[in-house]
């Protein structure tokens, strides 16, 4: 297996059991993402995009198939190792920002450091990233005092503060107006170009998808 691939997914299947009915969310997904790639994933609602992310991030287990992230086999991981994967290897950004409402922007980033066992504090490199994100002087506010775009940029900062190998962004601009969307997408592209951050981004918006190097289409649990 080549270590050039940050993500390698083979024949990935996921069946959810809802009551007495099996729902096949993924029906044999094959996917390879190279180190430093920015990949957009598009597809109709219910096509399994989020499920794919949840498996990549170790939040849920696949039913069958294999997933390698940064050379590590997810199937062989214990619960603790998958927790570790979320701490250090994968950063999540969600449509709904999902900042902790009781903490300031800085607090939200620091809690991610604390979870990873890193002493909270921003070094100069990270301060440069915060400036790149354009939130350097907004971090002492609580989320409710920030615009949606600002909140999403804080969420991105939080997702990458522990230098994850991959950033998984699930409809990061889904709740944003055009101006804020463009700001967030620009930031993702900068992170990718300047820092070599590997990014997978789910989106409904073709313009947003165009920010990626490559667009993957999903339908009915398969990559098409």
């Amino acid at each position: 297996m080549s270590s050039d691939f940050m993500i390698r997914v083979e024949d990935l299947r996921k069946v959810y059991r809802v009551g007495e009915i099996d729902v096949a969310a993924l029906r044999g997904v094959n996917l390879e993402v190279a180190r430093g790639e920015f990949v957009s994933i598009v597809g109709p609602s219910g096509s399994g995009k989020s499920t794919l992310f949840h498996i990549l991030g170790g939040l849920t287990k696949p039913t069958s198939g294999s997933v390698h992230i940064d050379g590590k086999d997810l199937r062989k991981m214990s619960e603790a190792e998958r927790t570790d994967l979320r701490k250090k290897t994968v950063g999540f950004v969600f449509q709904k920002y999902n900042l902790l409402p009781t903490l300031t922007g800085a607090g939200n980033i620091a809690i991610a450091q604390d979870i990873a066992g890193i002493l909270p504090g921003f070094d100069n490199d990270f301060k440069a990233i915060l400036n790149l994100l354009g939130i350097g002087n907004r971090l002492h506010h609580k989320p409710r005092a920030m615009s949606g775009g600002e909140q999403q940029r804080v969420a991105i900062a939080r997702a990458i503060v522990n230098h994850p190998a991959i950033l998984l962004a699930d409809e990061p601009t889904g709740n944003l107006d055009t101006e804020n969307s463009n700001a967030v997408l620009g930031v993702l592209r900068d992170l990718n170009e300047r820092l070599g951050q590997t990014i997978l981004m789910i989106t409904h918006n073709p313009e947003a998808a165009a920010y990626g190097h490559r667009i993957i289409h999903m339908r009915d649990g398969r990559v098409i």
Binding site: L59, P101, R158
Partner: protein, 367 residues
């Protein structure tokens, strides 16, 4: 960082936090006030017993030290003791308990009492002038708002207050000894005999000598230090069990309040817990945050409860200084703290497990 999150979470829901803190505070105060009153009453009784100025106390057979015996010793025994070697004085008193076992009336002969220890110090008024006179101490006066000339009922018998005495010498309420003997149908009998010994070095010798007298075989004979040591909750099993009951109730109250408080907190934070998990928080990390929050609640509640205890003491001193005495028992602060924390952590246990087990994906797709 988690400390910040814990504090902010508590500040985020000020009413819930306040109510939980007050509930834990009441829980702590319940224990500390009960213990404080127990210690206070015992110490007060002891102080007044020591204030008699005796060296030895004699009580009739089968009367526990702290139980108030009825008068069964013939008062001729007082003169008998006076004739024993090394004993310089003897004083017989009658004790009668009123007000549901809280307040005692002492019957005594003022001349004998003065001879024994110099007598009472009168704040107003003076000694008995007739069989229906009663002396009250300053606390009783304050609590019942009586003054010289007021009528006080003792077992439905009207008694006239003839004087107010400084507290600390045996009696809170004193009446002529014969009056009390008549009232309880114990003519010529006393409940306690107090002895004075010529020299402190001889006290133990006298006690040994008295215990050797066959007729006194089952009598309780105590030196004053023994008496002081005996005024302890350990010698009042009923009170001890009552304290245990209150402690258990208090744990249950703390458990229920914290359970509800933390349970709603967990439900309300479903999404946040999911976010923490997506950031890589382990179940232990989630538990840690919740337990710290609980611990902080319990600690603040504990401090508030200690504050409340000063409040109940103030109330007691202001409203019922003669009936109740409450002490601040520092020794019990940590005990009450441990109880508060134990109840709270028990209460946080199930909500904590629920949070730790919660499925991150479901939490995140929570709309």
């Amino acid at each position: 960082m988690t400390n910040r999150l814990v504090v902010e979470n508590l500040r985020h829901r000020p009413i819930r936090t306040l109510l939980s803190v007050i509930a834990v505070g009441i829980q702590v105060t319940m224990i500390l006030t009960l213990v404080g009153i127990s210690y206070g009453m015992l110490d007060d009784s002891n102080r007044r017993a020591q204030g008699v100025g005796a060296d030895i106390l004699v009580k009739p057979p089968s009367a526990g030290l702290l139980s108030f015996s009825t008068a069964t010793m013939p008062d001729g025994m007082v003169d008998y003791f006076k004739g024993q070697p090394h004993i310089t004085d003897a004083l017989g008193t009658v004790v009668y308990v009123i007000q549901g076992g809280i307040t005692a009336v002492t019957g005594l002969d003022l001349n004998a009492f003065r001879h024994f220890n110099g007598g009472f110090r009168y704040l107003t008024g003076g000694p008995f002038q007739g069989p229906d006179d009663i002396l009250v101490d300053e606390f009783y006066q304050r609590e019942k708002r009586v003054h010289v000339g007021s009528i006080v009922r003792i077992s439905n018998r009207p008694m006239r207050v003839c004087g107010v005495i400084a507290s600390g010498k045996l009696a809170r309420l004193a009446v002529p000894i014969q009056t009390l003997q008549d009232m309880i149908g114990a003519k010529g009998k006393v409940s306690q005999i107090w002895l004075k010994v010529d020299n402190a070095d001889n006290i133990n010798r006298v006690i040994t000598q008295l215990k050797a007298i066959p007729e006194l075989a089952n009598y309780g004979i105590w030196s004053m230090p023994e008496l002081a040591a005996y005024y302890s909750v350990d010698n009042l099993p009923a009170l001890k069990y009552f304290i245990y009951v209150i402690m258990s109730l208090s744990i249950i109250v703390g458990f229920l309040v914290v359970f509800l408080s933390m349970y709603t907190a967990v439900l309300e934070r479903t999404r946040e817990i999911g976010v923490l998990k997506a950031l890589g928080a382990s179940p232990a990390y989630i538990l840690k945050i919740l337990f710290r929050e609980t611990l902080l609640l319990a600690l603040i509640g504990w401090i508030v409860g200690i504050g409340f205890t000063y409040g109940t003491r103030w109330l007691i001193m202001t409203l019922v200084p003669a009936s109740l005495t409450q002490e601040i028992v520092y020794l019990w602060w940590p005990i009450a703290g441990v109880i508060a924390i134990a109840g709270a952590l028990l209460g946080a246990f199930y909500p904590g497990l629920k949070a730790a087990r919660q499925d991150a994906i479901e939490a995140l797709s929570y709309e």
